[in-house]
């Protein structure tokens, strides 16, 4: 292999293309003094270009696939219908719309669960709008008394800890949704999207808890486009995301990046593109991309069964693998 004189001058942490000229041209991808790959220019491959186009989907195709998935899964269980929380945000609206298109609105129950601290009449209005447009059954329940009961009952409750207090709301809504699932023989439909799921931007065993999650493999910006495609109003499709755990909370403020950029970072990480390359392509600080990568890795625990120590032949969560 030819020695690269140019190697010594390069930042050892970044990946780059360096050209070696010998008898014939080659493209060589290096990092530091390590050669990652060599290909003839003719054979040619390039590191994936991260432009908004890569996130484009055939939305009709996606819609049909998700509808088939929902119908198929329901048919395989003995459930009569589906229940989900309707926040008035784009994720739950899209999930609800898909369920309705797949099963018929009558089989879909949307629970509207406002609470005093984060109450916004516009959100409730939007939830009702979605319900009406897609013929959903709805039930409204103000969960404030439940929350206050928690605040009063928990020993040494700390109202200033926003995250602890906020998670109670998410988990309470989970309890509500599962009550109706139990009582009315419904499956719980989740509203998590791929961006949130990868970032761990959800409450463990809270808002992500569900029996199936139709938009879990779609990035936030893709969900927004699908929402428009399904006929959801523009104001819902472009509403800023929020878990609404405390007033004025927005996802993009907390995460430090807008979803247009974030989704491209996550897409790149999904496809094993080195973080330095992602940063270079999107013209962002590499430390920011590393922070996103780290966040994705650290939140794996939220996406799995509780950890068990292996003591016997087949262990749940490890090697006891039954089809669902």
């Amino acid at each position: 292999m030819a020695v690269h004189a140019s190697l010594q001058r390069k930042d050892p942490r970044s990946a780059y293309i360096c050209r070696i000229y010998s008898n014939y041209r080659k493209h060589c991808i290096c990092r530091g003094d390590s050669v990652l790959s060599i290909k003839d220019v003719k054979g040619g491959f390039e590191i994936l270009k991260l432009t908004p186009e890569v996130l484009e989907l055939n939305l009709s195709d996606v819609e049909n696939k998700i509808k088939d998935f929902i119908q198929d899964y329901l048919a395989k269980t003995s459930a009569k219908g589906v229940v989900l929380g309707l926040s008035g945000g784009v994720d739950s609206a899209t999930a609800a719309a898909l369920c309705s298109l797949a099963l018929g609105g009558k089989r879909v129950l949307g629970l509207i669960l406002p609470e005093k601290e984060t109450y916004n009449p516009k959100d409730v209005e939007d939830a009702m709008l979605v319900a009406e447009k897609f013929g959903l059954e709805t039930r409204m329940c103000d969960i404030t008394p439940i929350l206050e009961s928690f605040y009063q009952t928990i020993p040494n409750f700390d109202p200033s800890d926003k995250i602890c207090k906020g998670n109670i709301k998410a988990r309470t809504r989970m309890v509500m949704v599962y009550y109706f699932a139990n009582k009315e023989n419904r499956l719980v439909c989740g509203s998590s999207d791929k961006s949130e799921a990868m970032l761990g931007y959800f409450t463990k065993w809270g808002d992500a808890a569900a029996d199936f999650s139709p938009i879990l493999d779609l990035y936030k910006t893709q969900v927004r486009k699908l929402a428009l495609h399904l006929g959801l109003p523009k104001n819902i499709a472009s509403k800023p995301s929020t878990p609404a755990l405390w007033p004025n909370q927005t996802a993009e403020q907390e995460l430090g990046l807008d979803y247009e950029t974030l989704d491209l970072v996550l897409y790149g990480l999904e496809r094993f593109i080195p973080p330095e390359n992602i940063a270079k392509q999107l013209q962002k600080d590499p430390r920011l991309v590393e922070a996103v990568k780290r966040r994705v890795e650290l939140n794996e625990h939220k996406r799995q069964m509780p950890l068990a120590i292996k003591l016997q032949y087949r262990t749940i969560g490890a090697d006891f693998r039954l089809p669902r």
Binding site: P12, S34, L36, S37, I38, K39, L307, I309, K310, A318
Partner: protein
């Protein structure tokens, strides 16, 4: 006499620099104690259950990790064997579960694990390409044969290493505690049936719910177990006397008495199974 240092270590999952720091510390300690060869466990560069992160952590050989270990070997004068995920030089998506022998003169030898466990908690065939070569490596401390973990379940691996002139077999492992009994028996058997000294170095610590059992040890060609480690991090020292091999070959002449026709029979039996 070959002085061995067995670095039975826990590894920092996905942190190559920290694991190389461990390797460096172990080398210094081994050097102080006059060791000739330092052995570390399977995939000790990165940890074992790294799953999809193997794609970003695997390195070609030579590469940055090897460069650092080569420097450490050169400065200390020790031969070092350790495990790492290896990336193919040209094709980044092709990976191997590799044991590297780094010599103090800068020489690098590698063995790519042939038998990749894909059962129970093991998913190696998902990530790694099976190796195709079982060879020994000539060094100025003897001819060394290397094998990794599951390879020990297959008698042919160690037998081939012995037949290719191995003075010592180095078996590195990341073996979970559910396999302890098997490895205690297998390491003993492989040493005995081939009348060859065998050094076994295993991981300790937890990865997710999996506990590694340590138990690193030296097996003599006569089937004696020496220098056994427990189940915590430990730097164990031991010696191998190559003269013992000849005595063993005389007393247990399995290599002399092996019948090639039966190997033919073995092959046919497998094919017709």
């Amino acid at each position: 006499m070959l002085k061995l240092a067995l670095a039975q270590i826990d590894c920092e999952l996905c942190d190559k620099q920290k694991n190389l720091d461990k390797l460096e510390r172990a080398t210094k300690e081994a050097q102080k104690n006059g060791a000739d060869l330092l052995v570390l466990p399977e995939l000790s560069l990165t940890g074992y259950l790294i799953k999809d992160r193997v794609y970003e952590l695997a390195e070609p050989i030579p590469g940055p990790a090897i460069s650092r270990v080569a420097r450490i070997a050169k400065e200390s004068g020790l031969h070092i064997v350790f495990g790492m995920p290896e990336a193919h030089n040209q094709d980044r998506g092709i990976l191997f579960n590799t044991a590297v022998l780094v010599k103090p003169d800068g020489g690098i030898e590698k063995y790519q694990k042939v038998y990749l466990p894909t059962h129970s908690v093991f998913d190696e065939k998902r990530y790694f390409r099976p190796g195709n070569r079982i060879t020994t490596f000539k060094t100025n401390i003897g001819t060394i044969g290397v094998c990794i973990c599951y390879d020990l379940y297959f008698p042919e691996v160690c037998r081939i290493l012995k037949l290719k002139g191995a003075d010592l077999i180095v078996a590195i492992s990341a073996s979970p505690i559910t396999r302890k009994k098997y490895f205690e028996a297998l390491t003993l058997t492989r040493a005995l049936e081939n009348t060859v000294p065998l050094v076994f170095v295993n991981r300790v610590g937890f990865e997710e719910g999996l506990q590694f059992w340590g138990g690193s040890r030296i097996l003599t060609p006569m089937g004696e177990t020496e220098a056994v480690a427990k189940d915590r991090e430990e730097l164990l020292f031991g010696e191998v006397d190559f003269h013992e091999t000849m005595a063993a070959e005389v007393a247990i002449p399995t290599i002399r008495d092996a019948r090639l026709e039966l190997l033919e029979e073995l092959k046919n039996s497998f094919e017709n199974f």
